[in-house]
Amino acid sequence: MKTESRLEKVLASGNLAVTSECGPPRGAVPEKVKEKAELLRGAVDGINVTDNQTAVVRMSSLAACILIAQMGLDPILQMVTRDRNRLAMQSDILGAYAHGIHTMLCLSGDHPQFGDHPMAANVYDLDSIQLIQVVRAMRDEGKFQGGDDILNPPKMFIGAAANPFADPFELRVARLAKKVKAGVDFIQTQCIYNLDKFERWMEGVRDRGLHEQVYILAGITPMKSAGMAKYMKNRVPGMDVPDEVVKRLSGVPKEKQAEEGIRMAVEDMQRLKEVEGVSGFHIMAIEWEQKVPEIVERAGLLPRPVV
């Protein structure tokens, strides 16, 4: 075992892992963090805490992770390279580890143009692949990026994202290979609606044996309505929502669309469980955390293993 991460232990035990996520509040409201996290207790092996998601200012991921760790739950520190340089990121990683946080996710982050401070400076001292390298060197070599030794190096289980649906498709397996080479331990994918395309990507992943070097958690976001499906299809960059998804949701009365969305998510999970190389699920129920335990249960993944 490389770390004390609960997620690592679950994955190493051979069980399908389940993670979910919480977006911190847009204010100094610790109760909101705790409320959301409490909804996930017992249903997941790790809770991603987003880092100024969609480039909108929120409570820091690190602070919210500490609150969640204090509840006896397992936060996953998301870190984007957009807002801070390598000094700030490494110091936050030390701080996180000092607070008992053992799992993190390395991302580049959405461009500031999409957020509430489009006028902000765009840092990008590192990119996500370089951040993976930095966190791995901190853990395995006990070194800061600048080369100095670390006193009690932080041992982080290192995650990253992968979007099998972005362009160019032919590059998407190569990009995963690059993250593996950089030292990533687990991957959470973009929300999967186009299962055929995801399976094609996984074929490419298996052809190169990458599924044996990294744990891949399939991204699931239940649709709340046909409107949400249309929005994700047309407005969200890098998202692949096939027409059939929109059609199926539109085919049921409005008040039943949410239930239909959950049913579709569960069906997708059942199919994805059979895909060789899928090691678990990352359920992103956007402002719908209360539904996560039900989805996990209906997918046959409760109770969560004790490790």
């Binding site: 390598r86 461009h111 990008y124 996500s128 370089q130 160019p168 590059l171 190569a174 290979a177 890098g238």
Partner: protein, 222 residues
């Protein structure tokens, strides 16, 4: 070249508001090529400023001149002949030119008439695009001749990010995804395998992060 765009007339008028005699100085180099501050633009701005003043029932004396290279002290020296005929200087050169004039004539206020934009190239008639950020450690040899620092919105050295869609950047469908361009070019060169070489964290000291930069050529320095 260094590209620039003229400031809005109202902003320029506000800058020179207290002055009645202006030395308007263009530059024959980059700002001429990108049609922002050459001889022609100097003449146009001069008449526009005079007309605006006339509308307010006031006058403005302008002396127009365009230097060969405003970032070069040798040419800036030519302004000695006309500087006394002006209360202030309005420069249509890039920021380098404006600062050279300010350095040479310490007693004269100097104002910029253009916004200096970027180092770029002409894409087609009337369109210029950014190509270089002057990072001081060129990596174009590794990226198929396309710069991710200048042309990727997140300056990712190991791109593309998840926002690349049909060859375009997520921030704007008019912006090419630099990493799509890099990938296409590497493929055309038969160098796809290069893509999987990880670019390590960059040493930004050679860029602006290391402080203001200078080049000293011992063989040429006097």
């Amino acid at each position: 070249m260094i590209t620039a765009e003229r400031k809005p007339l109202e902003e320029i008028l506000a800058l020179i508001e207290p002055y009645d005699r202006i030395l308007l100085v263009g530059c024959n180099e980059c700002v001429t090529v990108c049609a922002a501050g050459g001889r022609k633009e100097v003449a146009l701005l001069s008449s526009a400023l005079q007309m605006a003043r006339m509308k307010e029932g006031k006058t403005l004396d302008t002396v127009e001149t365009t230097l060969e290279r405003q970032c070069d002290p040798e040419y800036v020296e030519e302004l000695v002949a006309s500087i006394d005929r002006a209360d202030a200087v309005l420069s249509m050169a890039c920021g380098c030119g404006v600062q050279e004039v300010a350095k040479r004539f310490k007693e004269k206020p100097v104002f910029p008439a253009v916004n200096t934009k970027f180092m770029g190239a002409s894409e087609r008639q009337g369109v210029w695009a950014e190509r270089c950020q002057g990072c001081g450690d060129c990596l174009l040899g590794l990226t198929g001749g396309i710069c991710p620092i200048a042309r990727c919105s997140k300056r990712l050295l190991n791109g593309p990010c998840g926002g690349s869609s049909n060859g375009k950047c997520e921030i704007n469908p008019d912006v090419d995804c630099a990493w799509q361009l890099i990938w296409d070019r590497l493929k055309a060169l038969g160098l796809e395998s290069r893509y999987e070489d990880i670019a390590p964290p960059k040493d930004w000291r050679t860029s602006r992060d290391g402080g203001p930069r200078r080049i000293i050529r011992e063989d040429l320095a006097s």
